[in-house]
Amino acid sequence: MLALFLRDLKLAIRTGGGFGLALAFFLIVVMFVPFGVGSDLTLLARIAPGILWIGALLACLLSLDRIFQLDAEDGTLNVLATSPIPLSGVTVAKSMAHWVTTGLPLTIAAIPLGYLLNLPSIAYAWLFVSLFIGTPALSFIGAFGAAITVGIKRGGLLLSLLVLPLYIPTLIFGAVTVIKAVEGSNPMPSLMFLAGLTLLSVVIMPFASALALKANLS
């Protein structure tokens, strides 16, 4: 599993496009918001938590289809299925690699982007922590969507349609955490829910993905 995790990291770095693309997309989404709603700083500060979370979520969505598609195309997935690593282990390794190359950079990039949106200073720590805790759920849920659509040519749009509804609870708990911090009330309850959601995803998603991959192999 470690070998697979490290190889996926190496591939993401070599092919480029991995984190670079997601980060650029995140920047553009955040940049578009003032174009769309005006540059009023108090308004921006109010909507910043939601924009940052939605932007990170959409940026994360971009690279999902590569999780399994590339390996399926060159036959690697078939060989992996006959290897000592169980398919659930394959999913864990790949979801982790996806998080390190996408979720983690997005979490870090959210801080300077928050400044651009005039996010109140009290909320930065909560923004970072909520994204840090919440983005693994996005990767694990996303890997499930990728496993479902791996056999479908040009399944990118379908992948979004399947995965986005599953992202709703993560988005709500994540954004509410930051909103509460901005409002000055207690963000801990929603952060705990978010952490619970991530743990749940980490536990059940690899098995669901393995089932989906198995159905797609035959």
Binding site: I141, F144, I148, T149, G151, I152, G155, L158, L161, L162, L164, P165, L166, I168, P169, I172, F173, A175, V176, I179, K180, S190, F193, L197, L200, I204, M205, A208, L211, A212, A215, N216, S218
Partner: protein
């Protein structure tokens, strides 16, 4: 003799063709009784006027929107565990009915909401949950239509239905949490049970029974169609 025998396509076709006429009559009886009684046999509400009568469409359709998903979940589990083909096709057949029920619930809700709250739409937790349910149905149906091999499609949609159920439930509670978080003490409550008086209660029961029967009837008819489509596809494959 076990219940599972009816998972065989031939048995299912035989049984359903015998059930459908009876079911149709019962459905029409219940719906007509419920709706006529509800619309013309009940007094106007002292507060809501005659608009309250949309309850006879709104509540049953909302119930069935959720129950259809539950039925799909059970049918999906039966397919995953026991590999009964009819079960998978029944889940497939139920999805468009479920999404229609969701739309009716949202539509009647909007029509009711305008005179009551002065708006067609509010981001109330219940309304939002139904919107979310609608998207889950969309994803499920899109996946069915995207995969060519029928057994693979049944497998994948069943897994999606399972995981979707977990996340739809989570969304339901997350939405409650979110709404309280944003609008302290939101005043829009759809809690009707407290208001419902006996004069409304009995016709409502008829309407609910009618919608349940209608759902079962439509699922049977649509499953029969799906079975025929599968037979046609299997025949075409054999003759190649």
């Amino acid at each position: 003799m076990s219940l599972w025998e009816y998972a065989n396509p031939v048995k299912f076709m035989g049984l359903s063709s015998r059930l459908i006429p009876t079911l149709s009559v019962l459905t029409i009886l219940c719906l007509v009784t419920g709706i006529v009684w509800g619309f013309f046999g009940t007094p106007d509400d002292y507060k809501q006027g005659s608009t309250v009568k949309i309850i006879f469409l709104h509540v049953p359709s909302a119930l069935m929107a959720i129950n259809a998903w539950m039925m799909m979940l059970v049918a999906s589990l039966v397919w995953l565990i026991r590999r009964h083909h009819v079960s998978a096709l029944a889940a497939k057949a139920a999805a468009p009915i479920g999404i229609t029920m969701t739309l009716i619930a949202l539509g009647t809700g909007a029509i009711w909401g305008k005179p009551m709250w002065g708006t067609y739409w509010a981001w109330d937790p219940r309304l939002t949950s139904f919107m979310i349910l609608f998207v889950f149905y969309l994803g499920y149906m899109a996946l069915w239509s995207a995969i060519e091999d029928s057994d693979t499609a049944a497998d994948l949609t069943s897994i999606l239905c399972m995981i979707g159920s977990v996340f739809a439930l989570l969304s339901r509670y997350a939405v409650n949490f979110w709404n309280q978080g944003l609008h302290q003490g939101a005043s829009l409550s759809l809690d009707k049970e407290q208001h419902v008086d006996d004069t409304f209660y009995y016709p409502l029961l008829f309407c609910i029974a009618g919608f349940v029967l209608l759902f079962v009837l439509l699922v049977l008819i649509r499953t029969r169609t799906e079975i025929r489509l599968r037979r046609a596809a299997a025949l075409a494959a054999r003759n190649v």
